[in-house]
């Protein structure tokens, strides 16, 4: 088994826009995520974090560069990357139940429905939701409960990497802490790596092994979380730290 779950090599994404110059949202970015590792990705608004998340999950194609999953190009790799979105309620089809949403990947992969349902109930319970939540709709549960269901959904296909794009930003502080501790528990149980996108350095500090700092489409600083926070090298990182720990 290759050492790294994810290898991003020199990836650039250029958005062509009508009537405006094209935009290099991600500009020659390279990084890796090790097996079972939790990597934080921080940076200001509009610096390209979501674009990286969408590239890694193959929702969009890079303009240039290559992305490899478990040592193979993502186009050839059978197992995908799963994602937890910023707005949990909007990430579930409003006309389908949370359980249907969580079972979709399993059913699409050919698992019989009763078995998929059983597995989803187990995952919901694993994520701290009572079994009857599988029959609820996103608008019938709280944001935190919905995000738990989204985590259950992401875990269902047993991915080796989950991208969490500001998965806790829409939740209040106590719920945030619960979700982070759920993520920690899950990681202790399965060898599942996280790419944790966030702009709250305080949250990242206690949770991530390694930190990537992004600024205007580039990764400007990279290293173990404690090290980056203790001795930031790039002026932008310093700025971020000042803003976070005043």
């Amino acid at each position: 088994m290759p050492e790294n779950v994810l290898d991003v090599r020199d990836v650039t994404k250029v958005f062509e826009r009508k009537g405006q110059p094209s935009l290099r949202a991600v500009d020659g970015v390279s990084f890796s995520v090790g097996r079972g590792e939790c990597v934080g990705l921080v940076g200001g608004s509009g610096c390209g974090k979501t674009t990286i998340a969408r590239l890694v999950t193959r929702l969009i194609e890079p303009t240039s560069g290559s992305i490899a999953l478990n040592g193979r190009d993502i186009h050839e790799s059978a197992d995908g990357v799963q994602m937890v979105f910023q707005n949990p309620a909007a990430s579930f089809d409003p006309r389908r139940t949370l359980g249907q949403g969580a079972a979709e990947a399993l059913i699409n992969a050919g698992m019989p429905k009763p078995e998929a349902r059983k597995q989803v109930v187990a995952l919901f319970e694993r994520c701290g939701l009572p079994a009857d939540f599988v029959g609820r709709y996103a608008y019938e549960v709280s944001g935190g409960q919905c995000q738990r269901a989204a985590i259950a959904r992401a875990l269902a296909p047993d991915p080796s990497l989950i991208v969490l794009d500001e998965a806790t930003s829409a939740l209040d502080v106590t719920v945030q802490a619960q979700i982070v501790s759920l993520l920690r528990d899950v990681r202790a149980q399965r060898a599942c790596a996280y790419l944790f996108i966030c702009h709250d350095l305080a949250l990242v500090q206690g949770f991530c092994d390694r930190l990537l700092v992004m600024w205007r489409g580039r990764i400007v600083e990279e290293g173990p979380t404690a090290e980056v926070i203790a001795s930031p090298k790039h002026p932008y990182t310093r700025e971020l730290l000042e803003a976070a720990f005043v």
């Binding site: 929702l59 909007a90 089809d93 979709e104």
Partner: protein
């Protein structure tokens, strides 16, 4: 209880009453609509007389115990003709609405989903159809195609599908960038699965409501074309052509015009109200409200 509490309480009660009211209305209207369709289905059995049998000796008789709605100028029983006339009205209208809804939604979803040149071309085509004054254009088409219900349906379909294309396109554009579609993509859905499993159910509500509201309008326009001699051809019993057929007797034997007129009025109104009520009922916020009301 403070004043705001009292106001909130009243608001909640009003909402609950309106909700129950909508539910009752819906049940009543669905029953009525089902009844109308049932009458159309069983029309031959329900007719007290042969709707096509002429009896000149009893022509233009006013409503009586024998002929509940009177007779027309050939002595045909009007009640029987109205009952049998439900068939072309209901079936051709449903056919027409299904035709325009399916065509329009297919075009609209395709345009909204694909975008680009396909979108531009198809939407210009639909603009072209929308630019003509509707019924006049339908008259021209029906005139070229000749009379008959099928041609009337085709003529009205030609002018009516762009509305659905517009609605479906707008709704598709609204759903296209929703995060839940990204989640479905990550679950491995194909484009067909995205469209049929996720997009269509999420845009179906407003389209169904439009279709329900259109049933009444289309029934009216079909009857209108028939009235002008471009739809149903005599001796076929169709409400529009029956009114047209008898219009010279409006003063001497008004029941010959009023009876089919009432039939059109009642059926159109039932389907229009049904459309309105379904719109109220389908509102997703109301759906949430109902669930909460149940669990309280």
């Amino acid at each position: 209880m403070t004043q705001t509490d009292a106001i909130a309480d009243v608001t909640v009660r009003v909402q609950v009453v309106r909700r129950e009211h909508t539910g009752l209305m819906l049940v009543a209207l669905v029953t009525l609509a089902a009844l109308i369709i049932l009458v159309a289905l069983c029309a031959p059995v329900l007719c007290p007389y042969d709707p096509y049998a002429q009896d000149l000796s009893s022509a233009l008789q006013p409503p009586s115990a024998q002929h509940l709605a009177g007779t027309d100028r050939y002595g045909r029983d009007l009640l029987s003709r109205i009952i049998i006339g439900a068939q072309p009205s209901v079936f051709f209208t449903l056919l027409l609405v299904a035709l325009i809804a399916i065509t329009g939604v297919t075009v609209g979803v395709l345009c909204g989903w694909k975008g680009g040149r396909l979108d531009v071309v198809l939407m210009r085509v639909s603009d072209l159809f929308l630019a003509f004054p509707g019924l006049v254009f339908a008259l021209a088409i029906a005139g070229v195609l000749g009379g008959g219900m099928t041609n009337a349906v085709l003529a009205l379909a030609a002018i009516s599908w762009p509305k659905y294309a517009r609605i479906a396109r707008g709704l598709t554009l609204g759903q296209k960038n929703e995060p839940y579609l990204d989640a479905a993509r990550l679950a491995g859905c194909t484009t067909a699965q995205l469209l049929f499993r996720h997009i269509l159910p999420n845009i179906a509500g407003p389209i169904l409501v439009t279709a329900m509201l259109d049933i009444g309008t289309m029934m009216m326009e079909l009857a209108g074309l028939s009235f002008l001699g471009l739809g149903a051809q005599p001796p076929m019993a169709e409400w529009g052509s029956m009114m047209s057929d008898s219009r010279s007797f409006l003063q001497t034997a008004p029941w010959t015009v009023i009876a089919p007129g009432i039939a059109i009025f009642v059926v159109v109104m039932v389907f229009n109200l049904l459309g309105d009520t379904i719109r109220d009922y389908m509102d997703p916020k109301r759906r949430a409200g109902r669930r909460n009301a149940r669990s309280e």
